[in-house]
């Protein structure tokens, strides 16, 4: 396999047949978006995994940093009241 550093990285999202949303399945290298889409089709949907594909340049994704984990996520840990568990569901309501 040759040097790939000149080819940008793409994140691949696939929506499965029954799925409601696209899920991240992996990443790959490709020279441009159209090639990335086809590579994704060939690499990630060989076994009927999906009906729709998104590819996104990895460089366009802004990610939270592990250093920010505490300020980002820790404060939610002791706020159990944010979960909808503090009221009774009436018997008549079946689908909730």
């Amino acid at each position: 396999m040759s040097e790939r550093s000149h080819e940008p990285l793409w994140e691949v999202f696939i929506r499965s047949k029954r799925g409601l949303s696209h899920n991240h399945v992996g990443s790959l290298h490709a020279a441009d978006a159209q090639l990335a889409l086809r590579n994704a089709r060939d690499v990630f949907t060989r076994r009927m995994e999906g009906v729709s594909i998104w590819v996104v340049p990895s460089a366009e994704i802004t990610a939270s940093s592990p250093d920010e984990r505490d300020p980002f996520f820790e404060p939610a840990a002791d706020k159990a009241y944010r979960h909808p568990t503090f009221y009774d569901i009436p018997k008549e309501v079946k689908q909730l």
Partner: protein, 254 residues
């Protein structure tokens, strides 16, 4: 076993099947050595599509010629002179540009052929064609994408893509040849008249080459003979490699 099956329809199906099988094997030779991992998977996916098409066609040919031959018999136990694929598909892989040029030229032809065969009076052939249209549409799409990118890419990729096209162009004439067999089967509504596919093929290829900033080669010599079992030198080597295991260990299984 004879090169030409007694039943004309079976003989025609063998041409279609051998085109698929031989190109499938050529593409499979890229496995583990394609320029990139993603392309490795792409080329072998196409190889598997073609292998599937050839299997369906061999099975149908066997029904029609009444020989009871299995798909393996057709693939592994016929000699070079009994294969009736066109010369284009047996040409060596060369560099990636040669493989892509071969794919553009052949898949574009094959797609037109499958589309026309959807109306074949042989219902089973029509069904095989209908399934293959979807697969081959992707093969064309894949080839076009690469031809445009390599042709309209760097100086080196343009030079290589043009050289690949020039070297394979002579073999395209054979695709559109008709003979007594095709004429007979066209009358019965089984086969497609290859000559009728020419105009659309020309248009598609011309459009792609223009987009890729490439020159369409001028018509020069037009080698032929594949449909009569007369092949080019690289084919014998390919066949020897492909058949070696089965011939050395008859009935070998995984």
């Amino acid at each position: 076993m004879t090169a030409v099956a007694a039943d004309p329809s079976a003989a025609y199906l063998l041409r279609l099947a051998d085109d698929c099988l031989v190109l499938s094997h050529r593409l499979a030779q890229w496995s583990s050595r394609a320029p990139t991992l993603e392309e490795d998977v792409a080329l072998t996916n196409i190889a598997l599509d073609l292998l599937g098409q050839s299997r369906a066609l061999y099975a149908r040919a066997s029904e029609l010629d009444g020989s009871g031959r299995s798909e393996d018999d057709y693939a592994y136990l016929r000699d070079e002179r009994e294969f009736v694929n066109c010369l284009l598909v047996e040409q060596e892989n060369g560099d990636f540009a040669v493989t892509i040029a071969r794919q553009l030229l052949f898949s574009t032809f094959q797609l037109l052929q499958w589309r026309a065969l959807c109306d074949s009076t042989d219902m089973q052939l029509a069904a095989i064609a209908a399934k293959a249209v979807k697969e081959t549409t992707y093969h064309v799409d894949h080839a076009v994408l690469w031809v445009v990118r390599l042709g309209d890419g760097t100086d080196e990729s343009h030079r290589r893509m043009q050289a690949a096209l020039d070297s394979l162009w002579p073999y395209t004439a054979e695709l559109f040849e008709d003979d007594e067999l095709t004429r007979q089967l066209v009358t019965r509504g089984v086969a497609v008249d290859p000559e009728k596919l020419r105009e659309q093929w020309d248009q598609t290829v011309e459009r792609v080459l223009r987009e890729a900033t490439m020159q369409q080669p001028a018509a020069s010599w037009a080698p032929t003979g594949g449909r009569q079992g007369l092949h080019t030198e690289p084919f014998g080597y390919m066949l020897a490699e492909m058949q070696h295991l089965h011939r050395s260990h008859p009935g070998a299984r995984w």
